[in-house]
């Protein structure tokens, strides 16, 4: 019944995995997102850059329902999760949650769980076969360069290893799109490389990703499209070579200049 209801939901008419239209979000009187629109096509990697307080993280948090948007549309695969500021039912939102994964700035691994349980519990709770999930988890660990770490606890791992476990955990539910909220900002500089490497690898595997980042060379190298946000609006977006190499907006130029210094 519920399944059918979703299928008959009015379509957003695009082939995009994620479409956001006219998204608005305020904290009290402070408007953090003003009329944000963007869409993410399958297999694309989108980087969102911008100064702190520009609304990048809030945008990701709205897309993953951690933050309650005040207006606009959010569609996954053409189906409305948010329509004109009204959310779909709880059950439907839960089904949308299986379509995406989110990697946090400070990992948010469950400290009392082993690496294996961190990765495998959610899919098992969703009713998947325990053995299959475990096999998939082992495969993901191998992919993340964490073979043999399945019985370790998060506190026994370095920050870079923890973040790679968090990526494996997000991937374990087989999401169609993966969000990263400044995945290397909490890491020591010498550990960012190993995390960026696995994200790059995922990009090569055509994983659809939206990455909020301050790592400009990474954003330039790995993304199909770069979005520059400031003051709650998208100031400029385009191919990384355009945005980084030849920005059209003064605000973008200023930001990138400050960054190079």
């Amino acid at each position: 019944m519920a399944e059918q209801k979703i299928n008959t939901t009015e379509s957003g008419s695009t082939a995009s995995i994620l479409s956001i239209r006219g998204l608005q979000k305020s904290f009290d009187s402070l408007s953090v997102l003003k009329d944000i629109s963007l869409s993410v096509d399958r297999g694309n990697v989108i980087s969102i850059i911008g100064p702190s307080g520009s609304g990048k993280s809030t945008l990701l948090r709205c897309a993953t329902f951690l933050e309650h948007a005040d207006g606009g549309d959010i569609l996954y695969d053409g189906q409305y999760a948010l329509k004109d500021g009204v959310y779909a039912s709880k059950a439907e939102l839960n089904r949308f949650r299986t379509r995406f994964g989110l990697v946090f700035q400070n990992f948010n691994l469950f400290p009392h769980y082993s690496v294996m349980r961190n990765i495998s519990e959610a899919p098992i709770l969703h009713g998947e076969n325990r053995e299959e999930v475990r096999e998939r988890a082992m495969m993901l660990l191998k992919k993340m360069g964490l073979e043999g770490k399945e019985n370790a606890y998060p506190c026994q791992l370095s920050g870079g290893q923890q973040q790679r476990v968090a990526i494996a955990r997000a991937l374990a539910i087989n999401p169609e799109i993966l969000f990263f909220d400044e995945p290397t900002s909490a890491l020591d500089p010498e550990l960012t490389g190993e995390v960026l490497k696995v994200i790059r690898q995922l990009a090569e595997d055509k994983m659809t990703m939206v990455v909020v980042t301050h790592e400009m060379p990474f954003a330039r190298a790995v993304s199909n499209r770069v979005i520059f946000m400031d003051g709650g609006v998208i100031v400029e977006q385009g191919h990384p070579e355009e945005v980084f190499g030849n920005p059209t907006q003064e605000r973008t130029r200023q930001f990138l200049r400050n960054y190079q210094q």
Binding site: F65, L66, R97, N108, A122
Partner: protein, 215 residues
């Protein structure tokens, strides 16, 4: 009366002391969680009332609460005082300790980073799954030292049952002390409580150690 006779007579009350101790833990530990959740309720009136009740229970003597629960019904409604005093004693202890445990639980729950809830939410855990699987186990580890403190205090607090003449170990000791005009029963009682608490300390330490596999 020889020391040995004293010890034997007083240890006959140990069963009742243990009954107060274990039954109080049995009821107050879960009751405290309910009180903590009410205290943290988003419904303002619920949290305000719970908060008031907690201040009363923590702000008045346990001895007074014991007397109130045991003899209050007689003065208020003229009903008979319970023949088995264990019932009012355990009720009073459980309510009082639940108030303390509730504040310990609340402190523990509020110390868990919000990121734990968010990670679980994005992964599709239900609210109940998040609490039972992610939050509660971490809370238990964090609050163990404070809980141990309360449990140790409870061992000694059982002696307060003498105020309603419940025949636990200390009450018997006090009666012997009165009839023999001897201080010895109090020393025996002190030794009993000390040994009891050494055991409690050891057991709680083992539980803490078992939870020590992560930090």
């Amino acid at each position: 009366m020889s020391l040995m006779t004293m010890i034997v007579k007083m240890s006959e009350g140990l069963g009742k002391t243990c009954a107060i101790f274990f039954l109080t833990l049995l009821f107050s530990l879960p009751l405290g969680m309910i009180v903590a959740l009410l205290r943290m309720s988003k419904v303002k009136i619920v949290s305000a009332i719970t908060r008031f009740i907690i201040t009363v229970l923590r702000g008045t003597p346990l001895m007074l609460q014991l007397l109130a629960v045991t003899y209050g019904p007689y003065y208020l409604f003229g009903t008979n005082v319970a023949r088995n005093k264990l019932i009012p004693v355990v009720i009073a202890f459980s309510i009082n300790y639940a108030a303390y445990f509730a504040e310990i639980y609340r402190g523990g729950i509020e110390s868990i980073p919000v990121g734990q809830y968010e990670a679980a939410e994005v992964l599709g855990y239900t609210k109940l799954q998040t609490f039972m699987r992610i939050i509660l186990p971490q809370v238990i580890k964090r609050i163990m030292p404070s809980v141990t403190n309360e449990v140790v205090t409870l061992v000694k607090d059982t002696s307060m049952a003498f105020t309603v003449s419940y025949q636990e170990m200390f009450t018997i000791g006090k009666q012997i002390a009165n009839s023999q005009t001897s201080f010895m029963p109090f020393l025996v009682a002190g030794a009993f409580y000390y040994i009891f608490n050494v055991i409690v300390d050891y057991l709680m330490g083992r539980i803490e150690k078992r939870l020590d596999y992560y930090s």
